[in-house]
């Protein structure tokens, strides 16, 4: 009896091992030559839906970038003013018709992956959808100054703006990926977020959709008839990891080829040790800061008892050695920003005036404004202790680290800091309601300061949670983002605005990371655009003599 059981167990084990061996060994090499290659991206960002009008996460936009084209795209210079640095995509060429209209001429070779031609009607339809409150596109706000989009013939479309401003062209082309009218016009717009199109999209880009297994992977295949040139890499696969740490582990274990952002130094070191990877540093698109609430915690009608005073904000800013903190958290992989800006913005200028680290001057300033050291080494003024809470999101190790470092940095100055760790959703609600003292924030920025700075630091900005308001600053921002301002003039205006903002110190600008991507060394011609990591993948290639099993396998 026992022998029979043992035999059965052994047989079952042998069968399982045989199956595993089959799974491990069954490979069907099928592709050789210059247009082979499979690139596996690993990412912690799972797409929500593959319809660029409604999707709102980086996982989705990375994939959509390969599926859907814009009329034109930002060039490698990153310049968003005027039109001279933009690269044509669907639009073969364009011309200005007066100060407020742009005429785009579509490339007649452009086609959807189902074979239909891309027409001016698709562009007109796309604008209508992106601007529709029912669709509720995240890009809607960015298109508010476009008054109309009208097709003149099947290949000509005219954009008319409500006003003239330096980034008209950028607004016309950057926020909208054109959608196929023939597939979406009949879908009720209330149902776009759950429509079948978003699960099985038909695009016009260099890659066509193959499959999507939610929470696991997305696969695209090169469109060999792509009108701007056949992509060299045959298959793109996005593999979704639970978080960045898991993603780095899989990359280092050679289960993936590319990760756009390695994050903190320990992950960069891990990737450096993997012999199959090459690291590509590029300018970062995010930045972080400690934002002060200038209005009372929970009562936006009164000034904050501490941060309502400009001198106290300045003193606290001068009491923080930002360079030292940066070194502790990022090593040499980030810079202290000269304002609320990522490294890739054209207005980044290390000569912008910032408040220096000067603890003696900070202590003097506090004392001069009545904040005297109390018996418990915490400053006091009129019975009010110089004590505040910092909100920091639980999911960001960087911000948690910064919170603790700030707590320690400010203690010698007589400032008591308490840390409130909250998950993102709860934190967001506290910010919107103004129920906080200070918050550690980080932002992923678009290529231009126009929208980000306006939203965060002007009185009509939807996310100006600091409730900062300075008419002089706002005047400079308005002038930099409107009228016939040239790039140089805009830069001067932005610089002036940043000088003012830094002097008012509504926040302490803490970090602007250098992004580092890791890509398998067999991939050649790698170029990375800071605002859109994989935008140029169609130009990458894997030379025939560097192909590995992964490249040859597959459909």
């Amino acid at each position: 009896m026992h022998q029979r059981v043992s035999t059965a167990v052994c047989a079952a084990l042998a069968a399982v091992l045989a199956l595993i061996a089959v799974g491990g060994c069954e490979r069907r090499p099928s592709c050789t030559g210059d247009y082979c290659g499979t690139l596996v991206f690993i990412t912690g960002n799972n797409p929500d839906i593959l319809n660029p009008a409604v999707s709102d996460n980086t996982g989705a936009s990375d994939v959509e970038q390969q599926l859907f084209l814009k009329l034109a795209d930002v060039g490698l210079s990153g310049n968003t003013i005027g039109d001279q640095d933009f690269v044509p995509e669907l639009a073969q060429r364009w011309e200005w018709e007066g100060p407020r209209s742009i005429i785009f001429h579509l490339d007649p070779r452009a086609h959807w992956h189902d074979g239909r031609a891309v027409t001016a009607g698709d562009v007109e339809f796309s604008f209508d959808a992106y601007a529709d409150t029912v669709v509720n596109s995240p890009a809607r706000e960015s298109l508010r100054r476009i008054a109309s989009v009208r097709s003149r013939d099947s290949l000509t479309v005219v954009f008319t703006f409500s006003e003239h401003y330096p980034e008209m062209f950028y607004d016309a082309v950057y926020h909208m990926q054109i959608l196929p009218r023939h597939l979406l016009a009949e879908v009720p717009r209330t149902e776009w977020r759950s429509s079948a199109f978003g699960r099985n999209p038909v695009g016009d880009g260099p890659y066509r959709f193959v499959s999507w297994t939610p929470n696991q992977s997305v696969e695209l295949a090169a469109d060999s008839t792509f009108f701007l040139g056949r992509p060299h890499i045959r298959r793109l696969i996005w593999h979704f990891a639970a978080n960045l740490q898991v993603a780095v582990t899989q990359l280092v274990a050679d289960q993936a080829d590319a990760l756009e952002y390695l994050g903190p130094p320990q992950f960069i070191q891990q990737a450096q040790k993997a012999p199959q990877l090459t690291l590509y540093p590029y300018k970062g698109s995010n930045y972080g800061y400690l934002g002060f609430n200038l209005r009372a915690n929970g009562d936006t009608t009164r000034p904050h008892p501490i941060f309502g005073d400009r001198s106290v904000r300045r003193a606290i800013t001068m009491g923080v050695d930002r360079a030292k903190l940066l070194l502790s958290v990022f090593g040499t992989h980030a810079k202290v920003p000269p304002g609320p800006m990522p490294q890739f913005w054209s207005i980044w200028d290390s000569t912008i005036r910032t408040l220096p680290y000067d603890p003696a001057a900070a202590a003097g300033l506090l004392a001069a404004h009545g904040w005297r050291m109390g018996p418990d080494s915490i400053r006091v003024k009129d019975g009010q202790k110089l004590s505040f809470h910092i909100l920091a999101v639980t999911t960001s190790n960087v911000r948690q680290q910064y919170a603790r470092l700030l707590q320690e940095s400010l203690r010698p100055l007589g400032v008591d800091v308490q840390i409130d760790a909250l998950e993102q959703n709860a934190l967001q609600q506290r910010l919107a309601a103004g129920k906080y003292d200070a918050v550690l924030e980080a932002w992923q920025a678009s290529p231009t300061p126009s929208s980000g700075i306006t939203q965060l630091w002007t009185s009509h900005g939807a996310t100006n949670y600091s409730r900062y308001a300075n008419p002089e600053f706002e005047n400079l921002v308005t002038r930099a983002t409107s009228g016939t301002t040239t790039r140089d003039a805009a830069s001067r205006l932005w610089r002036g605005a940043m000088d003012l903002l830094n002097a008012d110190a509504p926040g302490i600008w803490l970090f602007a990371p250098d992004n580092v991507a890791a890509i398998h060394k067999r991939v050649a011609d790698v170029q990375i655009r800071p605002d859109s990591w994989w935008a140029l993948v169609r130009h990458w290639r894997i030379p025939a003599d560097r192909l590995i099993d992964r490249d040859r396998a597959g459909r």
């Binding site: 939610p214 932002w443 980000g452």
Partner: protein, 324 residues
Amino acid sequence: MTAWLLRRCAAAVAIVFAVVTLTFILIHLAPGTPFLPGPERAFDPAASARLERQLGLDRPLPVQFALYLGQLVRGNLGDSFSQHRPVSEALAEAVPNTLVLTGSALVLDFVVGIALGIFLAARARRASAALVDQVTLFFYSLPTFWLGMVLLLVFSVWLRWLPAGGITDSVVYPSLGAWGRIGDRLWHLILPAATLGLVGAAGTARFQRAALLEVLHGDFIRTARAKGLRERRVLLVHALRNALLPVITLFGLALPFLLTGAVLIETVFSWPGLGKLAVDAIFARDYPLVVAAAILASATVAGGSLVADLLYAAADPRIRVSGT
């Protein structure tokens, strides 16, 4: 028996309803919105308010709850806010993945655990048993996610013998035949199932050993030995059946783990299962998905408890389920 079963089922339904109600209220009262954009992206309160209106989230909570119960009765779990698809579809993908992982881990847990427990009891007070005892204690005290990370580092990153995550190799899987696909899935299952199973087995072994040692001192065992039965038969037939009762209880308690117990391992190994789905849904304030996951979890707990009682009765003739 039937009356007892009916009463237990009615109690289970009541438990599930209570969990649904509580979860619905708590998740709706939690601060935040389901329409928060991705990390570090600007939040537009007006856009969020528009979406809340579209989905009826601006209505009073009792109205929302009544509407939800209405659709639940019709078998409709609603649409996921974060995944933009029916909740049933998301669950139908995640539940089998979790069942495969936790089911394999449970089999490993109880097969290895019981075998080790028998070994430890049979060789009590010998050096080999002491060594195995220390090893089981070591594994029992390990946090599963830590063991997972270590196994991942050794077998995937250093040795590169086993995959580092996912349930299939997305590069080759589409081109594999049916057997190849099964093999590929098993290949990806080894590390996560071993991680969960080994830690569980260490605990089960210690329970089993303790139970067997207690039974081995019984009169009926002495009688069996006096009758001249071989020691293996005494141990595996007479002692083991009587020593299985605590392990069966353990098994019943472990059943809910089939759906809920693998959150950390699903994260470490990028295993797209129910635990990870539920946790993501909570952070995303995906109300319909959170409540549906709670329904599944509570139903499994209630069902597991029922199954444990039935198994207990089957294993011990002295115990009878009763209608009184």
